[in-house]
Each structure stands twice: as C-alpha cells, then as structure tokens.
C-alpha cells in the first residue's frame, strides 16, 4: 500500500485547505468512467455495434431454447423429405424453415444460431488466451527491458513472421484427425484446439502494444515514487502499471476479436476447424460455396451474420479507442465545431447567393 499512501499525502494538502470562508462551489470531479462513457455513448455506430453483439450473445445463449420451443428441432436434424426436392436440392426460406434448408436438409436458421455460439466461444476463448499471454509478455518485456525484452521481442517477431494459416492448417490437421489428439492426448480436436491455435497466433499484437506502453510508463514519477516506497517489481507491475494500460488492452482485445472470428471461419471453411457435428459459420459458407448458384440462402444468412459480427466488434473497438484516447475528445470536439461552422456556412452561402 506504499504507493497509495504516497499519492494520498501528495493530494491531501490541496484538498484540506479551503481558501476562503464562503461556501465553495461544489465541483464534482468526473470519474474516468464518466468521461469514457460520456464520450462512448456519443458514438452511435459503436452503440449500434454493442447492441448487435448483445443481441448475438443472447441469441447464442438461448439457441437451445429456441430450437426446442420455437422451431422444435435441433441443428443437426435432417428433414430429407420435406426440405430437399427430388434431386436432393434444398428448399429456400419458408414458414417452417425461416432461413431455408442447407444442402443436407437441415434447418439453416438453427444452424446459424448454433454457429453464433461456436464463433463467439472460439472468439472469446482465443482472444482471452491471446490477451493473457500478450499482457504478461508485454509487461514483463517492457518492464525489465534488456535481455528479457530482446528475447520477447524476437519471439514476437518470430511468431509474426510465421505463415499463420499454413501452420494452423498443419497443427489442426495433425492433431485433429486422430481421435487421440497429439502430444499424448494433450491437444485434442475440437473447439479448444481451434481456440488455442488462434490464441497462440494473436497474442503478439497485444504484447507489442503493451510493451510500448510499459516502456514509457515505467519511467513515470509515480513508478519511481512507488519504488522509493519500497514496492517490489510484482507490485509495481500489477498495481501501478497494469491499471494504466487497461484502456489500450481493452481496445486492442476488442479489435482482435473480429479477426479471430474470421480466423475460425477460415479454418472451418478449409475443413479443419471445429468438428463436423459442430455448426460453424465458416463450414456453412464452405458448404454453400458449391451451392450458392441454386441456393443463395445457404451463403447469405451465415455470411450476413459473420459480416455483422465482425463489423460490430470493429465498430465497438473503434468507439472504445476514441473514448479512451485523451486526445480523441479534443479532436472530435474540434471536428464537431468545424462541422458545425461548415454547416452554417453552407446554410449561409445559398442565402447570400440568392
């Protein structure tokens, strides 16, 4: 607690010395959260994205309920005679199958709902993994500098220079085909393996940003103060530095979620993602790639959801970055002013002309 007392001492004299006798005007400081929220909620696109993500999460959560109580069948149930025609071709959207049938006669609507689960689970798991690894690596590298930094930075270079897709293809197919998995059963096919592969390739982005931030933060006075108070390395990293880099971490984590959603879809599209019985947007799109000429719905619905999801996460990520960025407000404020004045000019100009 050394560093908190240090800051308290520094702040106290100012706050406990009312200059005059008259009742001071109550100035309530805005908490960082207030500032952030105040900015964020002005970003209509980000709010829209957030609403969409919330909607998607709810859909994913209640997918089993919808399939049980609303449409009355599961994602892998086949409707060979009602939803495939005599040539084995699927029927389009109808009152019974809202998104139509896929090429095997399954309900595409339920498939897409369950696909949302897969995408979100993989995206969150993989991104969580990437974040944890990335933050630890970044903080350690930035804080200790020297050899550790060199090692971590080169490791980042190595991981970034690997042909990610090829390696992922190899890893997933090596460990995904046998049921035993590889490394003595340590790596098994399934959601977890796919998440791990994705996570292992996306941490460097976070690590690099964190490292940069930490490099500058570690020279700041409050760190020196904490060190002067006798704080250990762990305490400084955890208590002093980490809270200061939460904002960029959140921003970049949000921004790699959509790329991880796409990554999972890519792996599944190539047939090496989640197991065949698990619905996935990528696999649905892959199945549709042969069928779109006669069954547009097989590509449109999973495609729209995939598009919507990545767009939403990107918008939210952008919004978060703007809201957390201390300079962002100034810029947007100035831009708003400019825009206002431009609009005025525009209104004035025609009048002047007439």
């Amino acid at each position: 607690m050394a560093q908190t007392s240090a800051t308290e001492q520094a702040v106290q004299p100012a706050s406990t010395a009312p200059p005059g006798g008259e009742a001071p005007q109550q100035i309530v400081g805005r908490s960082p959260w207030d500032i952030f929220w105040g900015r964020f909620r002005q970003d209509k696109f980000a709010i829209g994205g957030l609403v969409f993500i919330a909607f998607l999460i709810v859909l994913a959560l209640v997918a089993p309920l919808i399939s049980k109580y609303v449409v009355h069948h599961g994602p892998n149930q086949l409707f060979v005679f009602t939803e495939l025609n005599e040539f084995g071709l699927p029927k389009g959207p109808n009152g019974h199958f809202w998104f139509g049938a896929d090429t095997s006669g399954r309900d595409l609507f339920v498939q897409v709902l369950y696909g949302a689960r897969t995408s979100l689970i993989v995206a969150f798991l993989a991104t969580g993994m990437a974040m944890v690894i990335g933050v630890i690596m970044g903080v350690v590298a930035g804080f200790y500098r020297g050899k550790i930094d060199t090692f971590v930075s080169r490791l980042i270079d190595v991981v970034l220079s690997l042909p990610v897709l090829l390696l992922a293809l190899g890893l997933v197919s090596a460990c995904g085909l046998q049921n035993k998995g590889c490394l003595g059963g340590l790596i098994r096919p399934g959601l977890l393996l796919v998440s791990m592969v994705i996570g292992l390739f996306s941490w460097p982005y976070i690590a690099r940003i964190v490292r940069g931030q930490v490099l500058s933060l570690r020279e700041k006075e409050f760190v020196e103060a904490a060190r002067a108070m006798g704080a250990g390395d762990g305490t400084i990293m955890l208590r002093e530095i980490l809270p200061n880099i939460v904002a960029p971490i959140i921003v970049y984590t949000t921004l790699i979620i959509p790329s991880n959603v796409i990554f999972e879809a890519t792996l599944s599209f190539l047939g090496i993602g989640v197991p065949a019985s698990t619905p996935s947007w990528g696999r649905q799109l892959s199945d549709a790639s042969n069928a779109f000429s006669y069954a547009w719905w097989t590509m449109v619905f999973p495609g729209l959801f995939l598009f919507g999801t990545t767009l939403a996460f990107n918008l939210v990520g952008d919004g978060l970055r703007d809201a957390f960025d201390p300079r962002g407000f100034v810029r947007t404020y100035k831009q708003k002013e400019k825009r206002k004045s431009r609009r005025k000019e525009a209104r004035v100009a025609p009048e002047a002309a007439s």
Binding site: L78, V80, F81, E86, G88, S104, G105, L177, N179, Y294
Partner: protein, 629 residues
C-alpha cells in the same frame, strides 16, 4: 463426387474350385447397331474433361481403375476377348472374340484353354510392320508377374500354371503359357477357372510387341519402362496417343522420348491408329477422328462448360452436380443431353460380425429395416443417381433374377422414417439378446457409441447423420469418426481396427461382369487379409483369425460354401447360383445393409450424337460417340 476405389483387391487368390467352360457364351459379333437409329457420321474431335488423371500413368499392367479400363477397352488396346461397348440389354456384358478368331477351346478336364489369334493385325506406329502374335500376349502376362513392375491384379492369373512361382522368383518361366505357333496361345491351369475368359479381356493381357533392338527381351518394348510404360504405350486399338509414330524403341530405354500425346495430370491427345483395320474389329465403330482430354477442374465448372458446349462430356467416376441433373432433366431443350444408365456397382453400409451388437443377427436385420434408403439416396441426388438396393449384387449381373427381391422392404424404402418401417425394425430388435426388456429398442450398453467410420464429404456426412438418426430410434447410437475417402478406407482395410459400422460411403464395382468379383473380395472368408482387407464385415473368418485380430466374438457366420458352390458352374446355372448366394447372404448372414445400385449420369454437349453406354466400362462408350457435322 463419390469415387469408387477399384484399386482395392490386393488379394491372394486361394483355393478356387472352379470348372472351366467357354468364358461367357457364344460369339456372334453383330452388335454394333446404333441405338439412336440415325446413322452416325465419322469425323471430328471429341473434347473430354476429366477431374483427375488415371492412377498408374496408363501402364496396362498396373492400371486397376475404372477410367483407364474404359480408355483401354474402347480405344487403345485390343485383347483376345472383349466387349461390344453397349448396354446390358444389347449384350454389353457378353464376351466376344476380339484379337481371337473365336471363343477359346477348353479341354475336357477344363485345365487347358486354347486361343486362336486373327492373322494380319498390326500394331500402331512405330510398330506398324509388326503383326500381333501369341508370344506378345505371353509377354504381357510375364510383365504382370514381374515383381519389379508391381502390377495391379496379378492374382487373377495365379490360376495359370507357374504364374505365382515366376512372380515369387521360384521359376524362370511361366510353364502354363505356350505358343505352339504364332497364332495359337495355350494356357494351362492348376485348377479350373470358369471365368478365365473374362480375365483375358482385362487390359493386363493386351499384347506387348517385341523389342526391335533385343527380340529376346522378356518384356519386349516395355523393357526398362517398369515405371513408365504408359508413356511408351504401343496401341492396338482404333486410337493411339498422338505422336506415337515418333517413339523409337531401337535405342536404349533411358534414351527414348516419351509419347507427346500423353502429359500426365494435364492432357491426353488420342488420334486414329493408321494400323487399325475396321474389318478385323466388330466391336468398335470408332466414329470420331480424335479425342482431346483435358485433366483438372471442378465438377460444377466442367458441367457448365459442357452445357455451354465448350466441352463434350465429363468422363470420370463422378456424377454431375445435382443442380445440373435437375436442370438437364427438367429443361425441354436439355432433356436429350442427359443420360442415366445403371452401373454394375453398389453402395452399402457394413456391420462387423465380430463387434457387438452386430454379432446378433436380429440386430443386423433390425438395422436393415431401420435405415431410410430413400432418404439416403435423396441426399445423394435423388432417384436419378441410383436404384434402391434390396440385396448385394447389382441386378444386371444376376440377369435381373432378384429384381424384386428385398427381404427388408419398408414403405417407400424409408425405413424407420415411417411408422411401419420403425415397427418392423423394432419387432426384429425385440428378438435380440441386447434388447432386455423386449420393447424393440436396444437397451444394452453395447448399442451405445458404436465405432463408426464415415467419409468427410458433405454428402457422406449428411448420409451418416441420417443413418445415425434412424438407428437412434432402435437404441443404437453411432460414434461417427470422419476421414477423407482414402483415410476412411485405410481404417476399414485393417481388421485389427474393429470398425463396427460404416455408413454407406463404401461401394463396390465389378472388375468383370461376373458376381465372382463381388463375392470373392467382399464376402469370402479365405480372402480376409491383414492389410487391404475388403471383407469389412469379417464374413467367414475362422476363430483363429478372429483371435489373431483381437476380437472377443470368435464365431461368425460364413458364406464360403455358398460361394464355392458357384465356382464350377457356368452360364445360367452360374448366375442362378450367385443369385442364391445373394439370397443366403441377405437372409442368413446379413453383414451389410444394401443401399444403392448406382447409376452413371452423363451430360453431353448438344453436338454429340449416337450416345451409347458401355455396361462393361460402366461409362460412356467413347468409340461410339459421334459428332453432328
């Protein structure tokens, strides 16, 4: 996009008690009438698209693949006996003399077969001056037996005296092959083989000319080409690879230049063989002047090209995409450009007799009732793609004797997807020892998580899910493991893997039009092998074998007596015997669920006339197709 693996039977042919008689009935070679009626015109170039190259670079002793067999039979190679290239209603599965003057003479003990060759038939350039003689056929069989060639189906010739000894290096010659004169071939057998005639119509027996530089060379012009004779192939049929005339067999093999008309994995160019004399060949009309084959591409893209007239047909083991089948069948202008013909191939699901619950015949019968065959077929493309199968051997191979035979019929063949079908399945299951409470639903733990192998294509996956759904209703849950086609075959080829169930992605295609080629590799106990075992159900395995492969069930039913009974028979009696064996199989052994007798579906461009289907090749007769001028 299902693909037959003809590259299957790597068998050692064991005791085949067979009595020989004339291969497949009398001769008579006037079967070249044009089915469409109009007189086809000669000339033009046929543009063919193929998804992939043949499997052994056109080496006639190695190729064991539907597509290469078809090119050899129609166009490139003549054999002692052959087929007329038509459908089974027009004698397309009957043997006719080709290089031979007539059907072979068989000795009274059925052990000596004598073929007489036509005189004055010459090879394609550069061997246009060389006459085809009996030693050339012997040369081909030596090549089939030569270990360094690693031939495709030598087991069909093990019945020839000394063949296996030569192959094993125990003898310097094959004692059972001799040519008393240039136009007589005498084949001596160790035991009777009634279907030997069919085996002398396979491309491995097509003549190989002697080497001009070394007339004594055992392998003739194929000497030094153990791995690439296909690119130096000397043709005898109506066509040859373009540029064959530039082959030079007078120099050492390593200095010879490959034929220009065959670029592996890319293209074939077939042109007329100037040596081919139509007056000696009743079997091949050879209408077009040339064939250009482009290899590679996606089925649906190639289908589009055919529709647009940029190609004439897709010639491969695949079928057109369902959307094209629908389009061609339902569009009046395109209706006469799609052809659907039965193949002599099937698809079936297998149950392993050594793995519970399939050691109980009632469970096996219940599964036969439960599977929705119509739904299975619909996922695969609907009625155009296949006939629903009620038994094992395709109807046309049994002269339609079992046409209406279906011991496990359910309403509309929809199995447990209809209430009546489900009842039938449950009634059968209720008699099983694994249904303890007799309610028709298996309640024993052995019915849970039954180890199942499936192919990972989209269609096969959906079909596997359908079967899974069906069997769920009688209490059997499948634990489906999915693999690529070749990996899936790899799993079921090994009897030690104890694969309990396969979901209908595996099929069988005849090698020649006799049910022997179905029963022997798939249902015959002595043919169970440690590797490449094609008897997935372990029918006829001995208790020692079952123990050796680690099965807990050691007593399994056998078909051996029923199969061996047919070996000595010929003609109608032989066919009847195979039909009886099929019935016995379906009622007393029940190791499989027959699903489909598949059709060949071909779409052709609008300029193609005289469509003819070859029942022997299970595909279009390329030598019959003509181009509208």
């Amino acid at each position: 996009m299902r693909r037959y693996a003809k590259v299957l039977v790597l068998a050692v042919v064991l005791a085949m008690g067979a009595v020989a008689c004339g291969g497949g009935g009398g001769g008579g070679g006037n079967a070249t009438s044009s089915p469409s009626g109009a007189k086809p015109q000669k000339g033009g170039t046929l543009n063919i698209a193929q998804l992939g190259d043949v499997t052994a670079a056109f080496d006639p002793q190695k190729e064991y693949y539907q597509v290469s067999f078809a090119y050899y039979q129609c166009c490139l190679l003549r054999t002692l006996l052959s087929y007329n290239g038509q459908d089974s209603a027009h004698d397309g599965t009957t043997l006719f003399p080709d290089l031979a003057t007539g059907m072979p003479e068989v000795s009274s003990d059925n052990l000596t077969w004598t073929f007489h060759l036509k005189q004055g038939i010459h090879y394609a350039p550069p061997m246009q001056d060389v006459e085809i003689t009996a030693p050339d056929i012997i040369r081909a069989l030596y090549r089939e037996a030569t270990p360094s060639v690693a031939a495709g189906y030598g087991f069909y010739y093990n019945v020839i005296q000394g063949f296996s000894d030569y192959a094993n290096g125990k003898a310097k010659t094959i004692s059972g092959l001799s040519a008393p004169d240039d136009f007589t071939l005498v084949v001596k057998l160790t035991e009777p083989a009634g279907d030997l005639g069919y085996r002398f119509a396979l491309p491995a027996t097509a003549p190989i000319p002697p080497s001009p530089s070394d007339p004594k060379a055992v392998l003739g012009v194929a000497t030094g080409h153990d791995d690439d004779y296909g690119r130096f192939l000397v043709a005898s049929g109506p066509y040859m690879f373009e540029g064959s005339e530039n082959l030079d067999f007078s120099v050492a093999a390593s200095q010879q230049k490959q034929v220009a008309g065959y670029v592996p994995n890319k293209s074939y160019s077939l042109v007329r063989n100037p040596s081919w004399d139509p007056s000696t060949d009743d079997l091949r009309p050879a209408y077009v002047d040339a064939m250009q084959v482009q290899i590679g591409g996606d089925e649906s893209v190639l289908d589009q090209k055919v529709e647009a007239g940029e190609g004439d047909l897709v010639f491969d083991t695949s079928a057109p995409e369902p959307e094209f089948i629908q389009k061609f069948q339902t569009t009046p202008d395109l209706k006469d450009q799609i052809f659907i013909d039965p193949t002599q191939g099937n698809y079936y699901a297998t149950m392993n007799l050594g793995t519970p619950p399939f050691d109980d015949i009632h469970v096996r019968k219940a599964v036969n009732y439960a599977i929705d065959k119509d739904g299975f077929r619909r996922i695969g493309g609907g009625p155009a793609t296949a006939e629903i199968a009620g038994h094992f051997v395709p109807d046309s191979m049994l002269n339609n004797l079992l046409k209406d035979y279906n011991p496990y019929a359910t309403p509309n063949d929809q199995g447990a997807d209809t209430p009546d079908g489900l009842n039938l399945a449950k009634q059968e299951m209720a008699q099983s020892k694994y249904d303890h409470n007799g309610d028709g639903v298996c309640d024993d733990p052995v019915c849970k998580n039954v180890l199942t192998v499936a192919n990972n294509t989209k269609t096969a996956q959906a079909q596997a899910s359908l079967i899974q759904q069906n069997l769920q209703k009688i209490g059997i849950t499948l634990d489906i493991k999915s693999f690529t086609q070749s990996a899936a075959y790899g799993k079921v080829f090994d009897p030690k893997n104890h694969i309990a169930f396969t979901t209908g992605w595996a099929g069988w295609l005849k090698d020649y039009p006799d049910a022997y080629t179905f029963f022997f590799p798939v249902m015959y106990g002595p043919n169970i092998l440690d590797q490449y075992n094609t008897n997935y159900s372990m029918v006829g395995a001995t208790p020692e074998q079952m123990k050796k492969y680690g099965y807990s069930v050691t007593q399994v039913p056998s078909m051996d007596a029923q199969i061996e009974k047919c070996f000595p028979l010929t003609g109608d009696a032989r066919v009847q015997c195979w039909a009886d064996a099929d019935k016995y199989l379906m009622e007393n052994v029940v190791p499989i669920i027959p699903l489909e007798f598949s059709n060949n579906i071909t779409i052709v461009s609008s300029r193609i006339t005289n469509w003819t289907y070859s029942a022997y090749n299970d595909s279009a007769s390329l030598d019959y197709l003509a181009i509208a001028q």
